[in-house]
Symmetry: C2
């Protein structure tokens, strides 16, 4: 893959992710960029950025799709197996930089694993 054309849409979306380090849900981006970018475009650009290894995606407990900036992903391989933490109070989601080792399971081959942690974030804990 690789980004083929540098368009305003791609820049606009990337800016949203560089603004702060947290994950952003697809619908949130659609709402946030309403009037600026079309819903379809948002979904398609996000998809492409994920293909390119720039963003990675995951679903929260409600099945809502979230995206976050990748650290060491390539378009070949996504290292998105770190846990994602969702605050039950403020809704914020971010990537947690701890290693969780998934134990081997007899007779099964593990391809991907996804860990979603929900609780209270550092801002809401007090």
């Amino acid at each position: 893959m690789g980004i083929i054309r540098k368009t305003p849409s791609i820049e606009v979306l990337l800016t949203e992710f560089t603004r702060n380090g947290t994950a952003i849900s697809a619908i949130e981006l659609v709402k946030r960029l309403d009037g600026k970018l079309n819903k379809t475009t948002v979904y398609r650009v996000l998809d492409k950025l994920e293909d390119d290894g720039i963003l990675h995606s995951f679903l929260d407990k409600k099945g809502i799709k979230w995206y976050a900036k990748c650290n060491s992903c390539t378009h070949d391989k996504h290292f998105d197996s770190h846990p994602h933490f969702q605050c039950l109070n403020c809704g914020k989601v971010d990537c947690v930089t701890v290693d969780v080792s998934i134990p081997k399971i007899p007779n099964r081959e593990i391809v991907i694993s996804q860990i979603l942690i929900q609780g209270t974030c550092e801002n809401c804990i007090n």
Copy 2:
């Protein structure tokens, strides 16, 4: 909560889960019981059975809702933090009885964690 009335719907749905030990998706149950039970009823009974601590639910990577029989859940507390394994080949999903310890995260309180593992199951590995 607790089941208030013992209706055929509840029995029909529970039978599906006792038939074999794997998890079943909500839509799969809706399809499987088409003509026998209404879609709305399926969703509502599943919801109630989860409330009662008889089933627990989780979402797969596509955002589809799955249910599985609980082992030691009560209507107060769901011990659903064991991983769920979904076969990328046959689609089967089941509960994995291994303990995955989620490390404590500084300044955050963990309430629930959900682990979804995808790969090849014991039937499809050969």
